[in-house]
Amino acid sequence: MITKHFKKFLIIPIIIIVLGIIFGVINGGLNLGIDFTGGSIVSVDFKGDFDTDVVQKALDNNGMGDSPIVKAGEGYTQAEIRMRTLDTDELQSTTNDAILSDIRQTYPDAEIVSVDKVGGVASAELVRNAFLAVAIACGLMLIYIWIRFQLYNGISAVIMLIHDVGIMIAIMCILQIQINSAFIAACLTIIGYSINNTIVVFDRVRDNLKVMGTKRFTRAEIADTSIKETLTRTINTSVTTLIMIVCLYIFGVPTIKEFSFPIIVGLLAGVYSSVVLAAPMWAVLADHFDKKKKQGVKAKAKPKKKAAKA
């Protein structure tokens, strides 16, 4: 059933990813946070103890509510606010002044002591490094799956990973939610989790290949049976993980929310891909290349006959 409609199931992810690209082009890519783009660190001296809530309110009033605040210095009498880069230096300094005057309503002695421009924590080098590490990991996983299963399983497993992370990035592009270095961790979490789901389905396919055999049943039928048999397990496991992560999202502080939301998206994408895409893709790939192989054999066989006739 599922394998027959494989192409239809592909439509949803393709639409999401295409939408992601369109929104990405319109909005100029992902909404990168200070971890990636850098920004400025504004140090405010309070000359005494202070409450970060006051600073937070001042930031909220000026549209900079997403800037992390830390206390610093001897006795924690200073606040360091990490703000994203604003379009012009002028805007930057008026915003800083507006924030300061808001703070001064509560703490009249407060003063901006320094404004430093800083680069991103997640430098291009770091992101490149993460990509490289994931690429190597994918390669090795592909080899392991190839050894334990078939090459087609490995290929479709890696494609599923790309799908899951692709959906995550696309959704972030569409919703323009700010992403920081925690997003990298979220992507890695999904890669680890989703490969697990896919392997469980493939394991069942491997079992059923032995029990059912490709002589009596088509690969599509084997894939469908395997999906049906693992469905309860896939749903239950995903529900349990979702429970954990949704709790984090509901009860967590904003930064935790920023991190758990993409994981929720990735989890759902992972369930979708491992249930309706992974096994059918294996069946389609294996059938396709099998046919080609057979055709190749036939094609080789034909010229011989012709030669015999001649």
């Binding site: 850098g38 970060t52 992390p68 830390v70 206390k71 610093a72 210095g73 001897e74 360091e80 430093d116 421009k117 800083v118 680069g119 924590v121 430098s123 080098e125 770091l126 490094n129 490289l132 590490a133 994931v134 190597i136 990991a137 090795l140 996983m141 392991y144 799956i145 334990r148 497993a157 925690a182 961790a185 979490t189 890669i191 680890g192 989790y193 490969i195 697990n196 392997i199 469980v200 394991d203 079992d207 048999e229 397990r233 239950n236 496991t237 529900v239 349990t240 993980t241 429970i243 954990m244 992560i245 709790c247 984090l248 009860f251 967590g252 502080v253 930064t255 935790i256 991190f259 994981i263």
Partner: protein, 434 residues
């Protein structure tokens, strides 16, 4: 058998309760100490630390920007080597580097200056011949390790050269046989050994009144390479948690609520095996927390918490796979015991393959990743291994004991078990009649 299993179950319950107590409160026996829960090293995002700003002393050098980037990478490597994988390195302005390091009451190194000095030392290593020419540099060294000379018991830094370094060193030792080649670090001579023989294998040792710690530090510095720029420390200040106060308690609370709902779900859905799964999960969480407290270089951070949650998801998964297989076997009309054994065997392969695949991913990330990526990977590796053991050993062991109790009503083990059994019987008889 029945009595023994009952005793076994009670003992297991007590042991698990004891384990929880130890994890929460910590304990120490002689030299062995188990750190309590709040002893886990926490990252910058959760508890704060210090930041240091370095200023490049000479901005007029060639390719300054490139060298700044290079220096940032070297700092990153050194922080990772010291176990501060959660530290952040950012460029401030054009000629300053800001390093934030999670040093707080939970870290082993308490003096921030110690770390700041370690990472900020140029560590420019040179081998100088008697004529004052440099024959080898730090970049010729492929790897360096601290060790102890077995005869003199002196602490040394042993090194292995790159292929081109090996050639240069062989040529130099041949040319200056029976003369001295001095080894300098940042222009200061730390030892001037006499060349006794031609060294062609590219291996050697640096001696020079090291302590165990200074040898270790030098080895790490050499491995990470010399800083391409001279940096001057201009500011060291403490900062509070970047996630804001209460983020940790908040996440722990969220985790506990999640865990409670999860337990309820498993209990309702899987009944007695569900209870066993909950016990296995408690053991899993305890062990992960214990290991997090004792493995160096592992810090509890936001991504780390994610790793643990992912691990909980996977630990549940292994249990779910076992129980589903168990149910399937039972459906074919087998007894509880045989379907449990059969189901477990089949589930074992699945669990092994799925976990090893994830483990490959985690190991690669630990090996090639930097900073946060590394600590995430460590947490994930710990989680995967512990979750596998908890499912394969603990779930299996406890469930086996429960089955040995010979509980008459199979409904305790799964919903509608009696109907399933009758259906299986009917199917068998039907099959027999055909």
């Amino acid at each position: 058998m029945k009595k023994r299993s009952l005793v076994g179950i009670i003992v297991t319950f007590v042991l698990i309760a004891l384990l929880c107590f130890v994890v929460i409160n910590g304990f120490s026996v002689g030299i062995y100490e188990v750190k309590p829960l709040n002893g886990i090293q926490q990252g910058l995002d959760l508890t704060g630390g210090v930041y240091t700003v370095y200023q490049a002393t000479d901005t007029s050098v060639d390719k300054f920007d490139e060298k700044m980037d290079g220096a940032m990478l070297v700092l990153r490597d050194r922080l990772d080597a010291k176990g501060f994988t959660e530290a952040t390195v950012t460029k401030q302005g054009t000629d300053r580097i800001r390093v934030e390091i999670p040093i707080n009451s939970t870290s082993e190194i308490q003096d921030p200056n110690e770390v700041a000095e370690f990472i900020g030392t140029p560590a420019k290593l040179e081998f100088v011949d008697p004529n004052g020419n440099t024959v080898l540099e730090g970049s010729d060294i492929a790897s360096a390790q601290a060790g102890q000379n077995p005869q003199t018991l002196e602490y040394v830094v042993s090194f292995e050269l790159t292929p081109s370094g090996t050639e240069k060193f062989a040529a130099a030792t041949e040319e200056f046989l029976n003369q001295t080649i001095s080894i300098t670090i940042d222009g200061e001579t730390i030892s001037a050994p006499k060349v006794n023989s031609v060294i062609a294998n590219g291996k050697g040792e640096i001696t020079g009144s090291f302590t165990a710690e200074s040898a270790q530090n030098l080895a790490m510095q050499i491995e990470s390479g010399a800083l391409p720029l001279d940096l001057q420390e201009i500011e060291v200040r403490s900062i509070s948690a970047t996630l804001g106060a209460g983020a940790l308690q908040n996440s722990i609370l969220a985790g506990l609520i999640g865990l409670a709902i999860l337990f309820l779900f498993i209990l309702i859905y899987y009944r007695l095996p569900g209870l066993v799964a909950c016990m296995a999960l408690v053991v899993y969480v305890c062990f992960v927390l214990l290991l997090l407290g004792s493995v160096p270089g592992v810090q509890l951070t936001l991504p780390g918490i994610a790793g643990i949650i992912l691990g909980i998801g996977m630990a549940v998964d292994a249990n779910v796979i076992i129980f589903e297989r168990f149910k399937e076997e039972f459906r074919t009309g087998k007894t509880l015991r045989t379907s449990f054994n059969g189901g477990f065997q089949k589930a074992f392969v699945t669990i092994l393959d799925s976990n090893i695949t994830t483990l490959i991913c985690a190991i690669v990330l630990a090996a090639f990743g930097t900073g946060t990526l590394k600590s995430f990977a460590y947490t994930l590796i710990i989680s995967i291994i512990v979750s596998m053991i908890s499912a394969l050993v603990i779930t299996r062991g406890i469930l086996k004991m429960f089955i040995n109790l010979n509980i008459k009503n199979p409904n305790v083990f799964m919903a509608k078990a009696k109907q399933l059994r009758e259906a299986a019987k009917a199917a068998k008889e039907g099959g027999g009649a055909q």
